[in-house]
């Protein structure tokens, strides 16, 4: 599935950046590590030059994506492995998640309408509201989820 969204106004240009920066995390699928990753991503987004709201946005998207992997792909097992790669280009930020858990049921993603009082189903909506592209694929035994956020003023390529 692939998704494109207009408006990335809350994200500022990456003044602090001059070239791509490699940063990758390999972690256990343990909810105790979510706070660690939030703190990492929030600081990484600041290094990339995002403003406060932009940092909060990408941090939330990454957190919700990791929670989904722990909950759905690994069925709450805490000994699975998740690889999170962070990459930046002149025009976008990209987060890639790889796990070896259950494949996702695509029909259930963003299947709940927002605006109601259901007790689940908001995580995937939040991710799509914040990020410009959400791309999921199953490759052999692994799930790969890619979240992309264009920087303001950057040309959008599909």
């Amino acid at each position: 599935m692939s998704y494109d969204k207009d408006g990335a106004a809350e994200i500022l240009p990456p003044q602090a950046m001059s070239g791509p920066l490699k940063f990758q995390i390999t972690m256990a699928s343990d909810p105790r590590l979510l706070a660690v990753v939030r703190s990492t991503i929030s600081e990484l987004a600041a290094v990339w030059g995002l403003g406060d709201e932009g940092c909060r946005g990408v941090t939330r998207a990454v957190d919700e994506a990791l929670s989904n992997i722990i909950r759905h792909a690994y069925k709450n097992r805490s000994d699975g492995e998740i690889e999170l790669s962070c990459r930046t280009d002149a025009d976008c930020l990209e987060f890639t998640f790889v796990d070896r858990g259950e494949p996702a049921d695509r029909s259930r993603i963003c299947a709940q309408p927002l605006d109601d009082t259901s007790l689940c189903g908001r995580g995937t909506h939040l991710i799509r509201q914040i990020m410009d592209q959400v791309y999921y694929e199953r490759v052999g035994e692994v799930n790969r989820l890619r979240l992309k956020k264009y920087l303001p003023g950057a040309k959008r390529k599909a």
Binding site: A35, E53, R56, R60, S67, R71, T117, S118, L119, R122
Partner: protein, 108 residues
């Protein structure tokens, strides 16, 4: 995440500290549901909370449903910018009763 429970003017106030995420929302949910049993008005003070994820939002929605069923009130106070943001993103700002301060929550 930690919670502390107080009584004031016939209401129960739960002061929450720390992030509410997939790891901590089960205990957040449990504390709120239990506190709701013994009070006509549950005030949740989120001033020391800087992050609430979708599972925390789901917990709040569940407590709200329980409150409505029992004809009780749930009031949220002390919402920081990031917490307000997630309620807006999930279009729930109008479903919850939100007040600035504890006084405002107890007055109305």
């Amino acid at each position: 995440m930690k919670t502390a429970i107080r009584e004031r003017s016939g209401s129960t106030i739960v002061d929450v500290t720390g992030d509410i995420d997939m790891g901590t929302s089960p205990s957040f949910r449990k504390t709120l549901l239990e506190s709701l049993k013994n009070t006509p008005r549950l005030v949740v003070n989120l001033r020391e909370v800087l992050y609430v994820d979708s599972s925390g939002i789901a917990s709040l929605v569940e407590v709200l449903k329980e409150a409505r069923k029992a004809e009780k009130r749930l009031v949220l106070i002390g919402l920081n910018a990031p917490v307000h943001e997630v309620l807006q993103l999930t279009r729930l700002t109008r479903i919850f009763e939100i007040r600035e301060t504890e006084e405002a929550a107890l007055e109305s």
